[in-house]
Amino acid sequence: MSGSNMWEAVSGIVRRDLLLAMRRRSDAAMSVFFLVIVVSLFPLGVGPEPAVLRIIGPGVLWVAALLACLLSLGRVFTADYLDGVLEQMVLIPQPLAILVVGKILAHWLISGLPVVLLSPLLGLQFGLSGEPLGVLVMSLLLGTPTLSMIGAIGAALVLGVRGSGLLVALLVLPLYVPILIFGAGAVTSSMAGIGGEANLSLLGACLVLSLFLAPWATAAALRIALE
């Protein structure tokens, strides 16, 4: 099999998923709205004290981004599983893991990238500015693809199980903890003036590691789900 065929399969699946998201904009917009609403509720609940908001800001933004990702995980494979497209995906003449990369990329473009793009605005709400704000965007840019990849493993494992929404949260949230710690930690340490580079490189390492492992694990889980 040639490289161009593989590229065709990946770009084909990304284009199809983006097209589907365009046809169902409300679904795609849901996780972004969720993020904005959750993040906006905190200043209302905690009070408008700038010093307090600045301290909780990074943590709140990261937890909200993580939950928004979790909310959209159910859509990654379920529809394809129910309408039979997943069977066709397993039977393509390319390694399934390659196609899974395409599915994850599409998921990130639909639900992860908007979070990254909105984050400077949301960060301003919490009094973040200057370097910490830049580090926040950077940490989300490195962290959200990892969330999509780990999430895809969970989503594939619970395919066809009743009450899968809750189950995927139980499976995936513990694995999200390191990403949350490094992500929020990067912003906090940048605010403390010691720079966020250490945490950002750890996030980068997580990204590379999950890019290496997650597609294979997801592909294996999908095959089991179809047996």
């Binding site: 099999m1 699946i13 046809r23 003449p93 390319q94």
Partner: protein, 206 residues
Amino acid sequence: MLQAVALHCSRGERRLFTDLNVKVERGSLLAVVGENGSGKTSLLRIFSSLLPPEQGSVLWEGQDIQQLKELYSAELTYIGHLNAIKDDLTPLENLMSAMSLTGESCSHNGAKEALEAIGLKRPIHHLPSKVLSQGQKRRVALARLWLSTRPLWLLDEPFTSLDTAATGVVTQRLHTHLQRGGLAVVVTHQEVALPAETIQRLRLTG
């Protein structure tokens, strides 16, 4: 040539078939018949490599399909009892994305011709598939057969919810496929109206 050697299959506690041996030559069609729940779909899924056989093996041109993997996938077109159609996409988009997924990309015009061949007229090509009837959706799924260049076709109940005209057209397409040296395994309740010498029947008793 597709060959099943001493296949065993059970789902849960139930034993569906044991020691099943069958051989399908090029140019012939294997019609799998049997009662509901007798393991017809399971057999087709084993043939497609979606379901690994419990015991025994499936050979394609003499080689085990478990070892051939993607090479075997490049030889087959599988249409399951699910249509693999996205409700939000039009028939044309569905067909083209299905073909690009299997690595047999087709042109816009090629896809249109395939849809017309199975009796879906032009205005329907651009409607969202969710407004189509069951029979029309089935036709969209089966339109892949007009674009497929693969030698092995695995079809699960292809004639479900098709009208007589469409059934005839699909049967004709199967006939052409067999004449070109292709082979097919078809799970069906209906008689397939093909010359008797090209059809081989396998009855599963469950």
